[in-house]
């Protein structure tokens, strides 16, 4: 990397040296001087100079105030802010007075009050008194622009941060400014809600109380709240978040910028799904099946006794079904109990996990700087790991080419790419900054795509990268922890004496259900009644990622710290795992820090718990053994289209319990490639029947240019019983 040229700039008489091209706002900050801003936000793209709050005087430029946010540091520049320039001060006072002309005196009832840039800057800058004695412009307020976001147009200062986010970050184009001049206002189309995976970010960007989360309305004041830095546990990205709590309740989730992971954005699932903590069917007491009376609440002592009894009775013929949402410590504790204590080594996870991609490890942010990106696999990236989609969009804006291929046949696509005469493969070989991403199931946990990268020569290119997007938020950490607990192995038990189901995701997995049917007894630990209550013999209450301390490993392989934001209404998993382990002579501490200490010695190089850090670093590349190319998968025979199911972002036990997110659930659609649509004479929006072996579903057609021919993609919850090959016809 070349060292950037340093330039000297004088700000209010103080000289600073900054790299050439540094924004003037940052340059002034380096000199210890604040230039107030509203619209300036570098993450939204080039500055637009909309609000004029940042006016300064620059010597040698036209003798009128300049918008500092649109300028960059040049050598010898002499800048005077409102501190030393009367011109700038007058301009700034006038700007603020104008901004306030139509701003209502809402602060006492505004949720932004106390943490509002407009309030703060009005306090510190500007004339201090108003000459405005006329009636102000009024609007209906607040209007819901979606079930999760409300808009108060009176408070809007038209800084265009929100619309720039919509247009140039999320690129959803749903939130816009209509009309012009003094009549401008922020709007969605007609009465449509602002639907998008990232819409909630505008509530954090808005520098006033115009866009606010409905879920936080009148919930708390800044001086009553506490902030807990943790990570989101709902998908494998592991966005860094701040959780706002008040009186032991989660009130909201905000982003906490980790520039390498999330760039300060979070998705609406991570932001709004916290409502599941208070779900009506949340289990807070253990439940024990009693003859003829079904499941009955039980005390903890009784429950642990019963668990011990069931575990002993199984005589080691135990299968553990993990969710991939356990903390590393929880998984390790459970593994110690099962493997060392009971000799039960068999565990199942909703997906295959491999460390093959670790040899091509890069931070997620590197995607934005890539040159050529190839995404293979069945699932839309934004459904599996939404923030990765934002990085892909950033890459495209930066000039990268993003190719989606291999929908309905990722393994085949990988083989093809790595082949001798594949055009795309050739370009990947030649590129200095190529990135391969596997998004979907069936990727052997990343092994297929890693093998492909190996053969394309990624190994010798430090700026190349491979990402595998797991299904589960901490599947990687769970697998590492499970294998760290013991080196022994044992045969898969048959018949199964006991099935231990850890977590709601495992409990709702159909293959776990069928294991349960074959097991003599089932212990389940779930948060919600709906998940396992019908078929378990003992249910131990589960906790949420917002209620746990510990660590998670995200899709990059980054070890991140989870902090307990609120105390769960029930002892957490590690507490009773530790107790149970004791009964089998195994020592498991109930404290995540102690468990981590032990585990870290084995797999994280002795890293102390305290050093995982608020902004966790990424481990270096880890060479993996020989990588085998995927075996050819059998292509399903028969006419019709191959059904590709995906799990939508807005689904799962937590989302289902948050009414505000219902509008984001996927529509009953089938996605078709343009070729198939044409062949079948189906237009976008047509009602179609999707049939297979006697089942039929009526869905709406959507044409997706990213799909290859021969594939019909349907969200899991709408595909229901459909088989692997389907016929699609207009209804």
């Amino acid at each position: 990397m070349s060292v950037p040229e340093l330039v000297t700039v004088s700000v209010d008489g103080r000289e600073v040296q900054v790299p050439k091209g540094t924004g003037l706002v940052e340059t002034a900050l380096a000199a210890g001087i604040e230039i107030p801003v509203f619209c300036y936000e570098p993450r939204l793209g080039p500055a637009i100079g909309a609000c004029r709050m940042c006016l300064v005087e620059v010597e040698g430029m036209p003798p009128k105030p300049q918008a500092a946010c649109t300028l960059t540091a040049q050598d010898g520049m002499v800048v005077k802010t409102a501190l030393t320039s009367q011109l700038a001060r007058n301009a700034q006072n006038a700007t603020l007075e104008f901004i306030l002309v139509n701003h209502p005196l809402d602060c006492p009832v505004c949720d932004k009050g106390g943490e509002c840039p407009l309030q703060d800057l009005t306090f510190r800058f500007g004339p201090g008194r108003t000459r405005m004695t006329f009636p102000k412009r009024t609007f209906d307020k607040p209007i819901p622009i979606s079930p999760t976001i409300s808009l108060d147009r009176e408070r809007c200062i038209l800084c265009y941060r929100c619309t720039r986010f919509s247009e140039s970050v999320a690129e959803d184009g749903e939130l816009v400014a209509v009309n012009r001049g003094a009549q401008s206002m922020i709007a969605t189309f007609e009465d449509e809600p602002y639907r998008g995976r990232f819409s909630g970010n505008v509530t954090e960007l808005c520098p006033v109380g115009a866009l606010l989360p409905t879920t936080y309305r009148f919930e708390a004041r800044p001086w009553e709240i506490q902030t807990v830095p943790t990570v989101c546990g709902l998908c494998p990205v592991g966005c860094n978040v701040n959780v706002t709590t008040r009186e032991g309740k989660v009130k909201r989730v905000l982003s906490r910028n980790h520039p390498d992971v999330d760039g300060g954005w979070i998705c609406d699932k991570g932001r709004f799904a916290f409502g599941h903590l208070g779900a009506r069917d949340r289990i807070v007491d253990p439940l024990r099946r009693q003859r003829r009376r079904g499941l009955q609440p039980a005390g903890w002592d009784e429950a642990v006794d019963e668990a011990e009894r069931l575990l002993r009775a199984a005589q080691g013929r135990i299968v553990t079904a993990l969710s991939g949402s356990e903390t590393v410590e929880q998984a390790y504790g459970l593994a110690k109990l099962m493997r060392t204590g009971l000799g039960a080594h068999t565990a199942v996870l909703p997906e295959e996990i491999s460390d093959a991609v670790d040899g091509f490890r890069l931070p997620l942010s590197a995607i934005a700087g890539a040159e050529l990106i190839v995404v293979v696999g069945d699932d839309p990236v934004e459904e599996r790991a939404p923030i990765v989609d934002l990085w892909l969009r950033a890459a495209r804006r930066n000039g990268a080419e993003v190719v989606t291929t291999g929908v309905g046949g990722g393994a085949k696509a990988c083989r093809q790419l790595a082949g001798e005469d594949d055009e795309l493969g050739r370009r990947l070989r030649e590129s200095d900054r190529p990135v391969l991403i596997w998004s979907g199931s069936g990727g052997a946990g990343g092994a297929h795509v890693a093998a492909c990268a190996e053969r394309l020569g990624f190994g010798s290119k430090p700026d190349s990268g491979v990402f595998y997007l797991p299904l589960t938020p901490n599947g990687r950490g769970v697998v590492e922890a499970w294998s760290a607990a013991s080196d022994d192995e044992g045969p898969d038990p048959d018949p199964i004496g006991l099935l231990f189901v850890s977590g709601d995701e495992a409990a709702s997995d159909p293959s776990v259900r069928s294991l349960a049917e074959r097991a003599d007894a089932v212990i389940a630990t779930t948060m919600f009644q709906g998940s396992a209550v019908g078929w378990a013999d003992l249910v131990l209450p589960g906790t949420s990622y917002l209620e746990r301390d510990g660590t998670f490993v995200n899709l990059e392989g980054r070890l991140q710290r989870l902090r307990r934001a609120v105390v769960p209404p029930t002892p957490d998993e590690l507490a009773w795992i530790s107790q149970l382990a004791g009964r089998f002579g195994v020592e498991v501490s109930p404290y995540p820090s102690v468990v981590f200490g032990e585990l870290s010695e084995r797999i994280f190089g002795g890293l102390p718990y305290g050093e995982v850090g608020e902004r966790a670093a990424l481990r270096g590349r880890e060479p993996t053994g020989e990588l085998r190319a995927p075996a050819p998968a059998a292509t399903p025979k028969g006419r019709g289209l191959r059904l590709v199911r995906y799990r939508p972002l807005f689904s799962g036990a937590a989302v289902e319990r948050v009414p505000e997110l219902a509008f984001q659930r996927p529509a009953a659609e089938v996605q078709l490639s343009p070729q198939d649509a044409r062949r079948l004479r189906i237009k976008a929006g047509d009602e179609v029947d999707v049939r297979s072996n006697g089942t039929s579903r009526r869905l709406r057609a959507r044409i997706d240019k990213g799909l290859v021919a021969g594939v019909a993609r349907i969200a899991d919850e709408h595909a229901e019983e459909l088989q692997a090959t389907v016929e699609v016809a207009r209804a």
Partner: protein, 153 residues
Amino acid sequence: MIDEIRRVAEQYPVARSAILPALRIAQERHGGWLPPEAFEEVGEALDLTPAYCKAVASFYDMFHLEPVGRHLVELCTNVSCALVGAQQVLEAFEEELGVRPGETTEDGAVTLRTIECAGGCGWGTVVVVDHRYREPVRAEDVPGIVQELRDAD
């Protein structure tokens, strides 16, 4: 219409640059104004969201978001025209048509609007009738213009 818009878009390096001609085509097709469906159609043709299309249309004065009459009378009230009697011309139109600026006669024949400078400052007052300039127009010319529109209707 979607095909027509796409043909126009082909002349631009990026399709979305064709948004203004596209909106104009849509407006013509929809009887002189842009109902919500029009934004959906333009959006589909250019791969834009309806919200974006509406944002653009609402910025420009020559796009109408409300139904208009079969004829459009637009009158400049900016300074050059104001100096030579735009106000009187406007009042004459109001009188003849029985509507105020921004309104449409009850029979749906004529919409009267005031506009910003139409670029004919040397020949004020400029009145734009169905997209054609009449200049200069005096108050006494107004009954004739209105009669002409009624006859043509």
